[in-house]
């Protein structure tokens, strides 16, 4: 499927098991779903059955957390093989994961850990993106993760780091607007500077989510509604990138589906309003 098709998916939600009945019994106003790839790398049972029943009705995107693209451990080819097998079954519009690493020495910390933003790390990540895209036979999208520390030897702003990965490898970007907001606060930069530095055609789709504000830093919990500041930043992003596929990602404290479709309706309104405003020059 072409990049244009990915960007044109519309407004989606992260698929969560709590919502299977509401999705299958009703016809919620959701254009597409993003699945957590690892949750469906299983042999059978209810998860796969529900997944395929919903897939029969909706386009899907696969989103993983264990690619560990920045790790200095070798790529986990068994994981990649299972990812590829799941993709053959689901036929997702695109496969995404995060710009991060999840462990070394064979361990998995099950977290999206930050990379030092150096030329060495950039070359390392690009080589691995090439490897992954070659193995999967398709382009992937990488998401900006929220971060809580920076490194003393950082040499490249994160937005330039991401843009350069996209330029060198041809991979797409999954822009999490909440994560930009969180990292901007945590590291004292302007969130709009980040957005404005991302190439317009590199963004495949957008994540929106909530967070927990602790006054001196923000934790990306993905367990709250999207806050006003993130909505404003989303409007800014849409003015820059145009009508890009967008989804709400709720990972914890999962509310009833209606609450998330209401939040999605707000995303539609914010995007529609932004598209009527003049595009940014940057």
């Amino acid at each position: 499927m072409t990049e244009h098709t990915v960007r044109s998916l519309g407004f989606g939600l992260g698929l969560r098991p709590q919502h299977y009945p509401a999705i299958l019994d009703g016809a919620p106003e959701i254009d597409w779903f993003e699945i957590l790839s690892e949750n469906y790398m299983v042999e059978g049972g209810r998860p796969l059955a529900k997944l395929m029943a919903i897939r029969a009705r909706y386009p899907m995107v696969m989103h993983g957390v264990s690619l560990s693209i920045g790790s200095t451990d070798p790529l986990d080819m068994d994981y990649l093989a299972r990812l590829k097998a799941l993709a053959a079954r689901v036929e997702p519009t695109i496969i995404s994961d995060h710009l991060c690493w999840t462990g070394v020495a064979g361990l998995n910390m099950h977290d999206l850990l930050p990379l030092p933003l150096t030329e060495e790390a950039l070359s390392h990540v690009c080589a691995r993106v090439d490897q992954v895209q070659s193995f999967l036979g398709r382009e992937i999208a990488l998401e900006n993760a929220s971060t809580y520390v920076t490194f003393a030897n950082d040499a490249i702003p994160e937005w330039e780091f991401l843009a350069e990965i996209a330029r060198r490898t041809g991979c797409r970007l999954l822009l999490d607007v909440n994560n930009v907001y969180v990292s901007a606060f945590n590291h004292d930069f302007r969130a709009t500077d980040y957005i404005d530095a991302i190439p317009r055609d590199a963004v495949a789709y957008i994540h929106l989510a909530g967070h927990e504000h602790n006054k001196t830093y923000i934790i990306d919990t993905h367990d709250h509604p999207v806050v006003d500041g993130v909505w404003q930043l989303y409007g800014h992003a849409i003015r820059r990138f145009g009508a890009v596929a967008t989804m709400i990602e709720r990972d914890d404290k999962i509310p009833p589906l209606e609450e998330l479709t209401a939040e999605l309706a707000r995303a539609r309104k914010v995007a529609a309003a932004a598209l009527k405003q003049p595009a940014q020059v940057a």
Partner: protein
């Protein structure tokens, strides 16, 4: 510091093995590097403890939140996750509870973890159709002795020394309830899935032995001999047939094969 050494130092910091990473990371204008790195360290432990609690709800209800948290942290320190999916983080927990002090002194813990794990396994193990009694009815009498079974891929069977199967529903209903942990029993449990519903059943030691034998490739004739060694030899064939019938009725058998199938073909 290069990327490789940075990542190893970062991970060592998460695991509490070294603080060297604090010399290489920065906080922000409001918080120190130590505080901000602590966000990652705290999240690591909290996420794994939460995942273990989700995957082993019976054990968590049995131990209580505080004791479970302490145990889970000790387990994660001993067995950090090596699997891409966090749902496998607890795969060494039964062994840990059975061998590590003080948990090894309370057999309820390892038994409950084993039971939780079997139910979780059955939930999303491979799909397969189940054989039924009709598959047995068609076997000519002369080939009964050669009957071999393959079992449903969701089936797990194991021995326990405590009645965790009876206690678990009560504990999930009322997590604070105090169980009489003096209660002991020698029995086995089998857990499996029919369509999307996970099932379990307590079975006696004889049936467990029979199940283990036939999962290992024994024939129905072997099963009759095994049963004959445990019960009145005259009633052994009937008892063996009852066991076989039960398995087919419960849906734990995938296929029924016998020597006549080859000759008929």
């Amino acid at each position: 510091m290069d990327l490789l050494r940075t990542e190893h130092a970062f991970q060592d910091g998460l695991l509490g093995q070294s603080q060297d990473i604090l010399r290489s990371v920065r906080g922000n204008t409001r918080e120190s590097a130590e505080t901000m790195f602590g966000v990652y360290r705290n999240a690591y432990w909290a996420r794994l403890v939460e995942a273990l609690g989700n995957d082993l709800p019976g054990l968590k209800a049995l131990m209580g939140d505080v004791a479970f948290d302490t145990m889970a942290r000790a387990y994660v320190a001993r067995h950090p996750s090596r699997h891409p999916s966090i749902r496998w983080a607890g795969r060494h927990l039964v062994e840990f509870l059975a061998t590590e002090a003080p948990y090894r002194d309370e057999p309820w813990f390892a038994d409950m973890a084993r039971f939780d794990w079997a139910l979780a396994f059955a939930f999303d193990a491979a799909d397969a159709p189940a054989a039924g009694l009709a598959d047995l009815v068609g076997v000519p009498p002369e080939f009964w002795g050669s009957i071999r079974l393959t079992f449903h891929p969701t089936l797990d069977a194991f021995r326990i020394a405590t009645p965790v199967d009876e206690a678990r529903p009560q504990l999930l209903e009322n997590p604070g309830i105090r169980m009489d942990r003096a209660a002991c029993c020698e029995r086995a449990i089998m857990a499996w899935r029919i369509e999307h519903d996970v099932k379990f059943r307590a079975i006696d030691p004889l049936e467990f032995s029979a199940l283990q034998a036939m999962r290992g490739g024994a024939t129905f004739g072997d099963l009759c001999e095994l049963v004959a060694g445990k019960v009145d030899p005259e009633t052994a064939p009937l008892r063996a047939a009852q066991i076989l019938q039960g398995w087919l009725e419960w849906g734990i058998v995938a296929t029924v094969e016998h020597d006549g199938l080859g000759s008929a073909a």
